[in-house]
């Protein structure tokens, strides 16, 4: 069992620090650089030279659906330019928590949110805060790719600009190219930007969704199991993307796949039945979990 954990953690730490983009292209699941990975474990989560900078924070965040509790009293820091992974068995509240971070629950029937979600020190649930502005600063990518069905690839990407009145084509062109490059999709679609977004493959559609979220230049990107409906190759492309993107945006990713959490994240939070059980640097959480439930989960005894 220990073997498995080492493999996982080695992959996790190897990518951001040592893997070149070529080796990642050749296979995101490569088992190389184990020894190098182990040295990586000793590092603290905040690897940036400037040290950890708090971008978001939740304090005692509780979400109710009617009378049932989705998550209760979750306090978590979210650091700038780092990837936070939320893991746990299904129904544990990780998605509920994620959706509270950009006020997606505003539209859910009977959902109520208490506690606070701070973005740069300001509670996004304050009455004077406009959810539209918040969602422009905190983007979201969903489980299933959701290209707008009637729009071209181009229109999909710039939807967040065009549909709020930005009509300047040079700006739109620039943003479209930048976002598609960020999402590593530009080269594949640059010759058919006018064809419908739904004509792309599943993996491409998901990267299109990411490009669309990035087009409005968000500071934080929330990803709700972004690879769960994709094939392994598309999954590894998205994971590569996350490594690139974290230099520009802060990422929170929900995943049911522990290896994925280990591979892509700097910090990990483990949820169980609506509670935050444990939070820590990914390497520590996967090798030396403090809680027995965390250990049971990551060693595959349940979930």
């Amino acid at each position: 069992m220990m073997n498995l954990i080492q493999t996982i953690t080695s992959k996790a730490s190897s990518f951001p620090l040592f893997a070149t983009s070529e080796s990642r292209q050749s296979g995101g699941l490569a088992e190389a650089k184990t020894s190098a990975g182990i040295t990586g474990i000793s590092g603290t989560p905040g690897k940036e030279k400037a040290g950890k900078q708090l971008r978001m924070e939740t304090r005692d965040l509780t979400v109710h659906y009617g009378s049932t509790v989705g998550v209760k009293n979750v306090s978590l820091p979210i650091y700038d330019n780092q990837v936070l992974a939320l893991i746990g068995p299904s129904g544990c509240g990780k998605t509920t928590y994620l959706r509270a971070l950009n006020r997606m629950h505003d539209l859910t029937r009977g959902a109520s949110v208490t506690g606070s979600v701070l973005l740069d020190g300001k509670n996004i649930y304050d009455s004077e805060v406009n959810p539209v502005i918040i969602r422009r600063r905190i983007g979201m990518v969903f489980q299933k790719p959701t290209p707008f069905p009637t729009m071209s690839i181009y229109d999909n990407v710039v939807a967040g600009l065009k549909l709020v009145g930005i009509r300047n084509t040079s700006v739109l062109d620039e943003v479209c190219e930048r976002a598609l490059r960020q999402a590593a999709l530009f080269e594949e679609v640059k010759d058919r930007l006018k064809s419908p977004g739904s004509s792309l493959s599943g993996g491409q559609q998901q990267r299109l969704s990411i490009a669309r979220a990035l087009a409005v230049d968000p500071e934080v990107l929330l990803m709700d199991e972004p690879t769960s409906s994709l094939d392994p190759q598309s999954t590894s492309r998205i994971e590569d993307l996350i490594h690139e993107l974290k230099h520009q945006v802060t990422i929170v990713i929900v995943t049911h796949n522990m290896q994925q959490a280990a591979r892509v994240s700097d910090n990990t939070a483990f949820f169980y039945v609506g509670d935050l059980i444990e939070y820590g640097p990914t390497s520590t959480l996967f090798t030396k979990p403090k809680e027995t439930r965390t250990e049971e989960y990551i060693t595959g005894q349940f979930g």
Partner: protein, 285 residues
């Protein structure tokens, strides 16, 4: 316990009865369609589409008569009705599907179904009281309002189900990139539901276009083309179903054959709308 043979014979008998019933139901339809075409085709000439009806004597003297004023009047009244009904129907459909928690929704749904189930003639009476009485005259406008009352509940209902069929994830994706709800609905959800919306509108349009009862006391009918197009809206105007009724119950045989011809035109018009609607429904899947 019956023998297997008896049971199998019974099975065959029941199947034959079902086939027979189907034939009995469909045969009259075929007979009606054949009669309409056979009786009406001869009167469906150039005059029919270019001349006014005029007084009964005009037909008896053998002067050319037709229903051009009826066809124009029908187009004006039907499209004006559509123009009135679409915003209200779409609005109500959007309210039901996009604001699912609104307190008035259960009431709206019941009221809409009630309105939908009401005989069209009562919609004519309502339009008579609301429009004809205050205006002091029968008018194309009143007819359009009466037909809009027929269309509105159908459009509202089909709009609701067309919008509901669009996955909620599309709306969330729109909101997640910082779009306001109205933009999400108008620019992502409604375009995605366009087939359903057009289908529902067409069905409502076709259903209203075939109605004569609401028009009898609203647009009333007119044997001549109004002098001015405004006369179509502000004065009595002819429409196909109502004219067909008047021709059929008139004592003049020349008018009877014109009535059959009007039946062909009306039938083709209505079937075209329904056919397109059904074709679109099939395209969607």
């Amino acid at each position: 316990m019956k023998t297997l043979l008896q049971r199998n014979i019974r099975d065959r008998i029941m199947e034959s009865l079902l086939v027979l019933s189907t034939i009995v139901v469909l045969l009259p339809l075929i007979i009606i369609l054949v009669h309409v075409v056979v009786n009406g085709i001869s009167a469906l000439n150039w005059d029919f589409f270019t001349q006014e009806l005029g007084s009964p004597s005009r037909a008896m003297q053998g002067r050319p008569t037709g229903l051009v004023h009826t066809i124009l009047g029908t187009l004006v009244v039907d499209f004006l009705a559509l123009f009135i009904a679409v915003p209200i129907g779409f609005g109500a459909g959007i309210m039901l599907s996009e604001f699912p928690d609104h307190k008035l929704n259960p009431t709206l749904r019941v009221m809409n179904d009630t309105l939908n189930g009401m005989p069209a003639i009562l919609k004519g009476l309502l339009a008579f009281v609301l429009i004809v009485k205050p205006m002091g005259t029968f008018s194309g406008l009143a007819g359009a309002v009466a037909l809009a009352f027929v269309m509105i509940p159908i459009i509202a209902r089909t709009t609701e189900s067309a919008l509901m069929s669009i996955p909620w994830s599309i709306r969330e994706a729109g909101l997640a990139i910082g779009l306001p709800r109205w933009r999400v609905v108008l620019s992502t959800v409604m375009p995605a539901a366009r087939f359903g919306l057009v289908t529902g509108t067409l069905i409502a349009f076709a259903r209203a276009a075939g109605e004569a009862a609401p028009l009898l006391f609203t647009s009333f009918g007119n044997n001549y083309l109004p002098n001015h197009w405004l006369g179509m809206l502000l004065g009595p105007v002819d429409t196909l179903p109502q004219r067909l009724y008047s021709l059929a119950i008139s004592p003049y045989s020349h008018w009877h054959s014109m009535g059959w011809a009007a039946a062909i035109v009306l039938l083709v018009f209505v079937i075209l709308c329904f056919g397109t609607a059904r074709y679109l429904t099939r395209q969607k899947h």
